[in-house]
Subunit: 396 residues, 2 copies
Amino acid sequence: MEKVPKDEIQARIDNFQSVLRDENLDGSFILQNVDIFYFSGTIQVSVLFIPREGPPVLMVKKSYQRARDESPLDQVVQIRSEREILSVLREHGHSDLGLLGLEMDVLPTNHYFRYQENFPKSRWLDISQQIRRLRMIKSPYEVEQIKKAALILDKGFSEIKEVIHEGITELEVDGHLALIARREGHMGILRMRGWNQEMTYAHVLSGENGSTVTFCDTATGGTGNTPAMAQGAGFRRIGKNEPIGIDYGVGINGYHGDQFRTFVIGELSADLEKAHDCSKEIHCLLAKEGKAGVTCSHLYSLAEEEARRDGYSDFFMGHGEGKVKYIGHGLGLEIDEYPVISRYFPEKLREGMVIALEPKFIFPGAGVVGLEDDYLVISSGLERLTVTDQVVMKID
Amino acid sequence: MEKVPKDEIQARIDNFQSVLRDENLDGSFILQNVDIFYFSGTIQVSVLFIPREGPPVLMVKKSYQRARDESPLDQVVQIRSEREILSVLREHGHSDLGLLGLEMDVLPTNHYFRYQENFPKSRWLDISQQIRRLRMIKSPYEVEQIKKAALILDKGFSEIKEVIHEGITELEVDGHLALIARREGHMGILRMRGWNQEMTYAHVLSGENGSTVTFCDTATGGTGNTPAMAQGAGFRRIGKNEPIGIDYGVGINGYHGDQFRTFVIGELSADLEKAHDCSKEIHCLLAKEGKAGVTCSHLYSLAEEEARRDGYSDFFMGHGEGKVKYIGHGLGLEIDEYPVISRYFPEKLREGMVIALEPKFIFPGAGVVGLEDDYLVISSGLERLTVTDQVVMKID
């Protein structure tokens, strides 16, 4: 099993400690699974303390043996309860802790109260935005993981062409995508940071289901087959000559690939083909114009302008209530990372960002067409990490 | 698509309002997906307010149309932002809100701060324990959903026997279980309430992988294939004459079925067969002794005593660091519901509780054997909801 290299972890800790000093913090607790993994290389039940200077302390409840084996950190300590944290930190030279960071965007309120109680002399600062901004810039190691995920997505899209036939349900197609993903090494979950956000392995959206609006902060939603998980595939049987939109995710060593392709049994109408061409044009335009230094809001405007020129404003990234205000998002250990490629995200692209661009067109009653691919931001442009051809995938 | 019946929702609201009055609360916000679904029948992005008396107000951000369609509640209102909540509640006659409930076990700290800010005159009480205790008692409708899930698990176990062969990887078996589950209507996610707890569709644990300890609060863990999701199936190839433990979950209309069976290609050793028999005996014993009025801690003791008599104390529900202190758990919209069948849960079983009992034996280096089944607590005993034979599933 591949472990996170020691120099990766060290570089992340160094960057974070520089943030801690900038913010005048004495240190920060890291408590959420994904952040713990980012800074320690393990998701075993732990409390990670990163001081403003010096080595972090990973305090592990379960499994201590596994955390020791997986994490390249030097200070890995076994604890039985969170009440031991204060004394463990003292033993490691961390007393007089004043201002401390917590991931308040995800940390449950009761946990916050407990930390207040256990550290009565400390004050607390939400450090989540700073962590999300650090994680926005990917190392070559991280980009490699996303590339591996992208290869599996490509394999999955090519295999699923052989599975889809008239009359098959969306759910069965979804199940085959899950089988392929797991067989090839998908870690078995797609992670989102947003409160109440959840994701199945794939969205399979055929015909009018592609225009179903739901709770997800995405242009497409799907019916699902129950209001209890109102998204993705349902029992609808796929027909001929209708768009089949497939959003597919895979996680390798924690890192997600995220891709969307439009399939059809037979042919799409000329209208839908034209809208798909527009999605392709937007990809070409953004891959040319996007590079380090360009603002996310500018990229969004370019895409929106292209959609308007082709007459698709009303259907671009959703319709009616379902319209979302972005055309892409950062991608890494979570699917909903920074940056957001949106009018409201004025920040500049920076080298090492990985973004998924997903210009889609949603036509009420007819469905969804479009393309989603993952790109690495480099100084001169955007380098595509996903490898599947940018075409409508036709099934005879 | 099946919606939650109106009388179900009404009964849940009635019960909760009785709790609100007992606790002297003016009302409670319900903000977490699963709880919103429980009390409203939808998981669309919403804020649900349940006053101590009178009809609840469901304030929906996205999708309003879908929430209206899915929820049998009478007062469903569209909002654009959480800042509108105060005025919407005023319009519905809810001003002067003093003590209010929040689900502080799951609600992120920043959300709590936002509610404090938006309702400067209110005080707040954690209402999560009360909600979890209400949800512990299932209605006949809810039991029906779990039974549907159990039928799919049975089908999956029977189909997977035809798939497993010497040399197949755990991950490929896991993928087939996902395919079957989705094809049959699994909602595509297994939900856990615990902080940082996550679950793949299934755990496929062959040979020594069945004794791998990891972060999950379960007797078994598995290697997974990455420290980033250190659980369940990995690339290990399944061999002959070794135990293959499969923990399988399916969600139907939000409700989970949860089952474990031991498979083998060929034969288990006499030792492992004997341990499996002990798991079966514990099931028989608990099904006989367990009924409304019996404490959870007593059930646990009965199981532990039976394991001790057979000489398996060191391997019962884990070994070493991996040992867990329960043999079962409540089951419903989440997999980790109340009650916990544990020495430390002194409460009595009540009619309508649904529990998964999972006496397992974990032998370091050799693997896991055991049985898990779901039971409804009735006045005279435990009624098994899962239908698969309680035997080792042998593959030629």
